[in-house]
Amino acid sequence: MTVQTERPVEAAAPISNSLTAGRLPKSAPWTILVVAIAVAAAVFGVVSIGTGAGFNWGGALFVGALLYIPSIWLFSTLVEGRRRAMDRLVTALVTGAFLLAMIPLVSLAITVITLGAARFDADFFSMSMRNVTGEGGGALHAIIGTLFITGAAAIISIPVGLMTSIYLVEYGRGRLARGITFFVDVMTGIPSIVAGLFAYSLFAIFLGPGTRTGIAGAVALSLLMIPVVVRSSEEMLRLVPNELREAAFALGVPKWLTIVKVVLPTSIAGITTGIMLSIARVIGETAPLLIAAGFTASVNYNLFSDRMQSLPVYVYTQYANQGNPPEAFLDRAWAAALTLILIVMALNLIARLVARFFAPKFGR
């Protein structure tokens, strides 16, 4: 502690280098952090000896990090002045927010990977649950179902969503555009289970009661997916500088070609992120698929007839209706959850490559 407080005093001496004057040394933040954690650990240590309870490592680290934020601000104010102190404070807060958010996310990832690894084997990817009870079995039928249903949902949603956002940004004026913007927001609020009920009832009208097909599930998912596609792509399209459009128009390029060749490529990275997010948003939906696409233990490749299993429904039913031995069911549930995340990871990777291929080369 004394080390940092002394240095600035030296720096404040009459003859000083104006470029480095009044700055905390580079090592200062780390030193303060270590001291803060040490103080917190000492307090927790005293408490744990006092009460006889075990030493709480998580608590000590957390409180230490919390202690760091005002300390760095205080030191910086004393040495560097108010503006730099504010900068240091925000840096600490932003990094803190990031680390804080990483705790649950990392904990979740570790849980899924450790528990999912148990049944992550060849059988899991080559077998369905037909005629399987207890141990064994796999999720091939659910993987196929998820890919098909989500694929169909994407084929419906991406063109509709993308064209809508193009309309909103490039063409839309007046009431229709305002209405669509507003109603897209409303659409983001459709509870997933209501989307499922709607799709189920819609197909029941045309195909008779009790029809549960993959395509009904896909329609339910597109209801959830479209607003995300529209909202995110709209945001990205709006960020394309007008200068680019005007330059294209000035060269006599038709509007639609300007959009296809200039606007879309410029924003392709953001749009791809948005589309991937929308797929990620729906691929894990359970409730609507349980209602609209039903449940089966067998492989079904046909979107338009018979029930179709999907990974989230598989996870849910394996967890909720455990038989004997329960571990076999739980292991399958976690392995399926892991599979689902890996599928999205693969899709994400492909999308990023595609985006990189189409995107214009920027300097940044």
Binding site: T133, A152, Y301, R307, T317, Q322, G323, N324
Partner: protein
């Protein structure tokens, strides 16, 4: 828009291509078996999720014996199962309660012939265990009034004299009791509250219902959620399908003068000791469980889940399939599979006779 126009046919084409090329290793191909089963076709059922584990075993057993048959069972819930059956979207229903008299009178069962009766078969009998998580205690002997008091919140500490009175040997800690109940509407709750209301009417003044009748205690979704909540808590107590009790402590319930721990035999015994509901059509085997029975060796907290079919189907196409499947479930073999895989109680031979007669009457 172009994408969309060409997208759907493209998917269909891809679908067809993949369908021709691959198959799950445990499916299809089933070489014509020597038993030469003549049954073929698709059967769809929907209903109680309590039966799901058992249904999966029955389906597996039946499909193995009849390779050309595919049966799907949606574990969508009893209410949804009855609705689905009512609107004719399933061939049979699984339900934690039988249809009520006025529901049958109202009719409108789309799969059934206009004046057909219903065949309701109590084929899945499962004891409901009262489970708890208190360190150092594996089992407790409790009477109905104490159990009701715990769940009603009037007995709120594990060292309460009412608990100690029937458990002189147990070391009961000074720990708050957290009763856990189901947050979803469920047949398990309905059977449990019905038992409390019948056996401890002074303490438990609420009517039997699938929804927990008052605000108090902890709530958890589904059997799995409840078991998780009890397992992860400290001083927690709840009720769940006995097959899911696992390593948790369980309660032996006082019946007459003795304390009976849950067991499949004791659960089957209470069903045999109970009368059938009156005024029902032939083949409609709805049971009114006698919760206050004092017969020796009965365990009164049981869940009876029914399989429901039409007495006479409008379209005779699937009749043989329904009869075949139900007969398999009622057979000693079928009941044995469910007992191993789902921890249910096999039905007694007396009940099986009645059920077989009812199945034979399906047209």
């Amino acid at each position: 828009m172009n994408l969309k126009r060409f997208g759907v046919p493209a998917v269909v084409a891809v679908t067809a291509a993949i369908a021709l090329s691959s198959c799950a290793s445990n499916e299809g191909g089933g070489a014509p078996s020597e038993s030469a089963s003549t049954l073929a076709g698709n059967l769809v059922g929907a209903g109680a999720s309590s039966q799901d584990a058992a249904q999966q075993s029955w389906i597996a057993g039946f499909q193995t014996a009849n390779p050309d048959v595919t049966i799907d069972y949606d574990p969508s819930g009893s209410g949804a199962g009855r609705e689905t059956f009512l609107e004719g979207a399933s061939d049979f229903a699984g339900s934690d309660r039988a249809f009520k008299d006025d529901e049958i009178a109202a009719g409108g069962f789309k799969k059934c012939a206009p004046d057909s009766s219903l065949v309701e078969l109590p084929l899945y009998i499962s004891p409901i265990a009262v489970i708890f998580n208190v360190e150092g205690v594996d089992s407790l002997d409790l009477d109905a009034a104490t159990v009701a008091g715990i769940f009603a919140g009037t007995i709120s500490n594990w060292n309460d004299p009412a608990i100690a009175a029937t458990n002189p040997d147990a070391t009961l800690p000074d720990l708050a009791i957290t009763p856990v109940h189901r947050s979803d509407d469920s047949g398990t709750t309905e059977n449990f509250t019905e038992y409390l209301g019948a056996a401890a009417a002074d303490v438990w003044t609420w009517e039997a219902d699938g929804v927990w009748p008052f605000e108090g205690g902890e709530a958890a979704q589904g059997t799995s959620g409840l078991v998780d909540a009890v397992t992860n808590g400290n001083g927690t107590i709840g009720y769940a399908d006995a097959s899911r009790a696992g390593d948790l402590g369980t309660v032996a319930i006082q019946v007459g003068d003795e304390f009976v721990p849950y067991s499949p035999e004791a659960a089957a015994a209470i069903v045999d000791a109970s009368p059938f509901a009156e005024g029902r059509a032939e083949g409609d085997l709805a049971i009114e469980i006698d919760r206050t029975s004092e017969e020796a060796g009965v365990y009164p907290i049981v869940l009876v889940s029914y399989l429901i079919a039409c007495g006479q189907y409008e379209d005779p196409a699937n009749v043989e399939l329904v009869k075949g499947y139900l007969s398999y479930i009622a057979s000693p073999e079928g009941q044995e599979v469910a007992a191993t895989d789902a921890g249910s109680a096999p039905i007694s031979d007396t009940l099986r006779e009645k059920i077989t007669a009812a199945i034979d009457s399906i047209k």
